[in-house]
Symmetry: C2
Subunit: 328 residues, 2 copies
């Protein structure tokens, strides 16, 4: 099967880019519609059983939460304020009414957490459990943060810690009982909406949420901004427990931290003189780790610089769910 | 499995109704967000293989078209002008890249037909082919037409002809080759967006699109508006070929016309003195049949009045896709 990112490129001709009334078209974390004095962001993300969750690991309420959180995270990455959401739900015959109610309860809890109102839904019987949530948000006109504004000399900031969800999935795939704290990151991801607003206010020039992993998502910023990037491994905010899990599993912690997905941390480029204060303020707004982790450079490659001075190519360290299934 | 309409009622506590910033909450054809000078409608409808289409009957482009059309029809029923759409697509392993491209081509064609821009999509592998489209539209502030404004004495208008898609599905279910013209209504439904605008401009007090069938959908208006309704069978605009198909299948044509779904005609209530002209203008705007078909009365029952004066209960003549599968 064609990889996800290749498929997205093939489908681009069928989608609409920026034009009259559309401030940001397809290909970013969210599209942005220009309604004059109001700019409305639109994000859509699908979570599917066997790809994004397993029913023996995540409760129905967890699944509902996650379906909303991943979309709120897309809004966060635009610097947007969440407004409203709707859901299209595919329901297999073995999912009972009580489980559907629990899914909705989880969606409602996540919506309340991030200021979304769940204003509509369509539930249809289908062969696989899937939730397609569309989340709407608002940004001030002209203030949406896309993936395209990073410039050489800008600093790279990560807000939120890395690797926890991927470490839990690696433990599951290895047949081990996942560490509860790591599993919580997989089951109940947090969208850093307040941090996204703070980074935007501090002049973020490009931003993305780390849904597919740092390697892959930094690659999106590099391609959209037509720049390269160098990330210092030593400065990455690694989640507690990830290093120990990596050792126990016999895998390189950097593959989990840079190649795993579902962190829903935010990666932003900012002018270098604003970066330290932006990271501090954004981390404080959420009570999460935050750090200046690298810099934007000329070129097109995203590179990971290790403490000993050796370098690794970050491209290909991300997560493509057509190439691999993280949960099944 | 719990029926669709019962399930919707059970899920209502998890959804948001009208409140600050939300002009119309869940439970209508679309929600309406109040952005001050701009009101934005949000509709979400999922189409699923085996429920809404069969891959041996509908081409990938047909499926893409239909996924957009059913949402454009929801916007039409609010009197809205379509703006933009996004899609969450569940893709089974046996659906190739060329078929995904064809799905997107069908979506794009339907979007162009009704003024929608396809600004985003998420494609995820899954066990069943499903498309969850969210469509956005605009209405003038204060001018959204809900299901709740019908009053006794108002006239009922249908714009668009009835029964074609349901007749095609009945032929399929009977193992017969569907009539090409009827099958086209099933494969490529038309959203009556221009008619919806005309009906709104003529003072429609309640409106719904006939996705589930006249019996079921008129019931929604009756419940939301707290009224009853009487429909004259003789005045219903029956699609060409439906009566002949019913005779050949040995079924009552009224069961197809009132109980079948997927007509995507519009049903509206209007002040009686405006109804004839509204129907004429709305039909002319689309080049489709339109008629005044009945009246709103006190009470809560939707009744079908036959030419010989006998009456049938329209409730239960609609389509509930949890209770029956129309295509499989």
């Amino acid at each position: 099967m064609t990889g996800e990112f290749e498929l997205i490129a093939q489908l681009a001709p069928f989608l609409t880019g920026a034009e009259e009334g559309i401030a940001v078209g397809h290909g970013d974390d969210a599209a942005v519609l220009d309604f004059g004095e109001r700019w409305v962001c639109v994000a859509v993300d699908v979570v599917v059983e066997g790809v994004h969750f397993r029913r023996d690991v995540s409760s129905p309420a967890d699944v509902g939460w996650k379906a909303v959180a991943v979309n709120a995270s897309d809004l966060a990455a635009m610097g947007a304020r969440p407004t409203a959401a709707v859901v299209g739900l595919c329901r297999p015959a073995d999912v009972g009414t009580d489980e559907i109610e629990a899914l909705y309860a989880g969606m409602r809890a996540a919506c309340q957490r991030w200021g979304l109102r769940l204003v509509g839904g369509d539930t249809v019987k289908a062969g696989a459990l899937a939730l397609s949530v569309t989340a709407l948000g608002e940004v001030e006109p002209g203030r949406a943060v896309t993936r395209a504004g990073a410039k050489p000399g800008h600093a790279l900031v990560v807000v939120g810690s890395l690797g926890a969800a991927a470490a839990a999935v690696a433990q599951l795939q290895a047949g081990a009982e996942p560490d509860p704290a790591l599993a919580a990151a997989h089951r109940r991801p947090q969208a850093l909406v307040a941090a996204g607003r703070v980074l935007a206010e501090h002049g973020a020039t490009a931003m993305i949420d780390l849904s597919d992993g740092l390697g892959s998502d930094l690659g999106h910023i590099c391609r959209s901004s037509e720049v390269g990037a160098i990330v210092r491994a030593i400065d990455l905010p690694v989640a507690d427990g990830v290093a120990a899990a990596a050792v126990a599993l016999g895998v390189d912690v950097l593959d989990i931290v840079c190649g795993g997905g579902e962190d829903f941390a935010l990666l932003a480029a900012l002018p270098a003189d604003a970066a330290e204060e932006a990271a501090r303020a954004a981390g404080a707004a959420e009570g999460v780790a935050a750090a200046v982790v690298g810099r934007v450079v000329e070129g097109e490659d995203a590179t990971l610089e290790l403490a000993d001075g050796t370098r690794r190519d970050l491209a290909g360290m991300g997560y493509d769910h057509y190439a691999q299934g993280p949960v099944t």
